[in-house]
């Protein structure tokens, strides 16, 4: 698996000169599986720049992508209207997510409403790419040789939120960008997803110093994320979903606390690549 980070920022893009190393784009991670399938985790603004790279590599001819969306908060879907392959007829884009009480496709369509969005509505059959939308539940499924396991995790009320495990027998990745553990039942699905993975990408929206005052807001702090990683015996954890007010130096300071703990802790940085197997 070849993993590349296109957006690492939580809540809202934070473009400043002090966030250029870790990045200010909202969540998007591309995973190129060993069998060539392209999986995309979340559709924040980072998705736009991934689209540019794909089109530079011939994606417009017959590109296929599978976009797994953890939940429909803005930061995780706002890149879709600006993902250029959506407007290219020869592309095939498959969207997976959960709209809760509302069909997933209908939630995404609201973003395309003309009063808000001047981009042609590529959900209409005669416009742009061939699109499919799939309602997620907790059943595992395969995309090529990769098994995807979704699990419901605790985030905020009103919107179902999933984490994902991607496994191809040789390497594994867990992606849990928005989660809060208020009790052990909340930790259980995350531990299952992260169990022994090579790479865990995990919510660390708050610093540990900030967390108590923001308890109940749906996000983790770095120490809670690292403790879960230790318990799940992961190879490496990327602290992800950075708070918009945290600049590069703040994130450096957080990461430096975990220099010698037996596994690798890094701050998720935009445009970095993580290769999980050599096959």
């Amino acid at each position: 698996m070849h993993v590349k980070l296109w957006g690492t920022r939580g809540s809202v893009p934070s473009p400043t000169s002090a966030t250029t190393r870790y990045g200010g784009n909202t969540p998007c991670v591309s995973v190129r599986a060993a069998d060539g399938k392209l999986l995309i985790l979340d559709a924040g603004i980072g998705l736009h720049w991934l689209g540019g790279e794909l089109l530079g590599n011939g994606f417009a001819e017959d590109g296929e992508a599978h976009v797994l969306i953890t939940h429909t908060h803005w930061a995780h879907i706002q890149g879709l209207p600006f993902f250029q392959p959506m407007l290219i007829a020869a592309c095939n884009i498959h969207l997976y997510g959960d709209g809760g009480d509302t069909p997933f496709r209908e939630v995404l369509l609201r973003q395309m409403e003309h009063a808000y969005c001047p981009v042609p509505n590529f959900f209409e059959d005669h416009i742009g790419a061939t699109l499919t939308t799939t309602q997620l539940n907790e059943s595992s499924f395969r995309i090529g040789a990769t098994t995807i396991t979704p699990r419901r995790v605790n985030h905020t009320p009103g919107v179902p939120t999933h984490g994902f495990r991607l496994d191809n027998g040789k390497s594994s990745l867990a992606y849990i960008p928005d989660v809060e553990y208020l009790d052990d039942t909340h930790r259980r699905p995350a531990l299952e997803l992260a169990d022994g993975v090579d790479l865990l990408i995990h919510d660390a929206h708050h610093t540990s110093a900030e967390y108590e005052s923001r308890r109940g807001c749906g996000h983790c702090s770095d120490d809670i994320a690292v403790e879960l990683a230790r318990e799940a015996r992961v190879g490496k954890i990327l602290l992800f979903h950075h708070h918009p007010d945290h600049d590069d130096d703040v994130i450096d300071g957080v990461v430096s606390r975990y220099a010698d703990i037996g596994f690798t802790v890094e701050g998720a940085a935009e445009r970095t690549e993580h290769i999980l197997d050599s096959s």
């Binding site: 809202v12 893009p13 400043t16 603004i45 808000y116």
Partner: protein, 290 residues
């Protein structure tokens, strides 16, 4: 009247080392008069402005919304003053025939999309819908709102305070041949060409003799697409010159426009100016005291 730019980027926010001088936040401009604070548009720039307003103890703002496209409203849920019960905010925009102004904002904060609902915010929020051409007073300033040629229902503003005039003419194709504005009054039926002429005249009325004119310069000539509703720098150099504007300010920069490219575009505009028109490229943090 003091103008401060908090977001200058068009379409969507851009985070990249290539845009740090001009900035990557979507549109938001603060207009301070002797009598109060006006904010134009609620792109992501408003998030940073919100922290500044709280630090300065500003407890009331009038938000002038040009239109409801995402890049002009997406910062609103992240505007910290909304979480304070001693703050009041009045939002002004053109009347939309199919969406109330309050529904535009409450739908953005439905629980599918955002964890805090509009009705749960602590600040007192009032929505005021205006007709095309209507004049009103905010922060002691005289404001006129006019429709412009842009997809959907979009407008610009002319703000006069004392002897100074500030014009916000973003998100419009000044010289386009496609009528993009929708939901125009249907009767009596008027051909597209007449509507294009009327909307162009609206832009002229907003910009006439402005001391400072914020201009939509999204496209370069070889990128221009007549279905998007955006203009080119040359369109506005000519327009601002004819309007007798003092300063034109390039604005709503294309997402992939780097700082170096912006410098080149600003220089090219200056080289084309005949007369006294001053040309600036809007960058985050730019302050202009009129």
């Amino acid at each position: 009247m003091k103008i401060t730019f908090w977001g200058v980027r068009g379409s969507f926010p851009v985070s990249s080392p290539d845009v740090i001088r001009y900035g990557g936040n979507t549109p938001c401009i603060e207009v301070q008069t002797d009598d109060g604070t006006i904010v134009i548009d609620a792109g992501t720039g408003i998030r940073v402005l919100g922290k500044s307003l709280l630090a300065r103890g500003v407890s009331h703002v009038d938000l002038l919304l040009s239109h409801a496209h995402w890049d002009h409203i997406q910062g609103f849920p992240h505007f910290e003053p909304l979480f304070h019960d001693d703050v009041s905010i009045t939002v002004h925009s053109l009347r939309h025939p199919r969406h109330t102004l309050s529904s535009i904002f409450s739908e953005q904060q439905q629980e599918s999309f955002y964890p805090v609902r509009l009705e749960d915010l602590k600040a007192r929020i009032t929505f005021v819908e205006h007709d095309d051409g209507e004049a009103f007073e905010v922060a002691g300033a005289h404001v006129v709102i006019r429709r412009l040629n842009h997809p959907g229902v979009a407008g610009g503003f002319r703000i006069e305070f004392g002897v100074r005039t500030f014009s916000y003419i973003s998100d419009t194709d000044l010289n386009g041949e496609c009528l993009l504005a929708s939901d125009l009054p249907a009767t009596p039926k008027i051909e597209d060409i007449d509507w294009l002429r009327r909307l162009r005249q609206s832009a002229c009325d907003l910009g006439q003799s402005a001391d400072l004119m914020v201009c939509d310069t999204f496209f370069l000539p070889d990128e221009y697409d007549s279905t998007w509703g955006h203009s080119r720098p040359d369109d506005f150099v000519e327009f601002a010159t004819e309007a007798g504007a003092g300063t034109m300010c390039l604005f709503h920069h294309r997402p992939d426009r780097s700082d170096d490219e912006m410098d080149t575009i600003v220089d090219a505009c200056r080289a084309k100016v005949k007369g006294d028109l001053r040309v600036l490229g809007a960058n985050e943090g730019l302050e202009i005291d009129l």
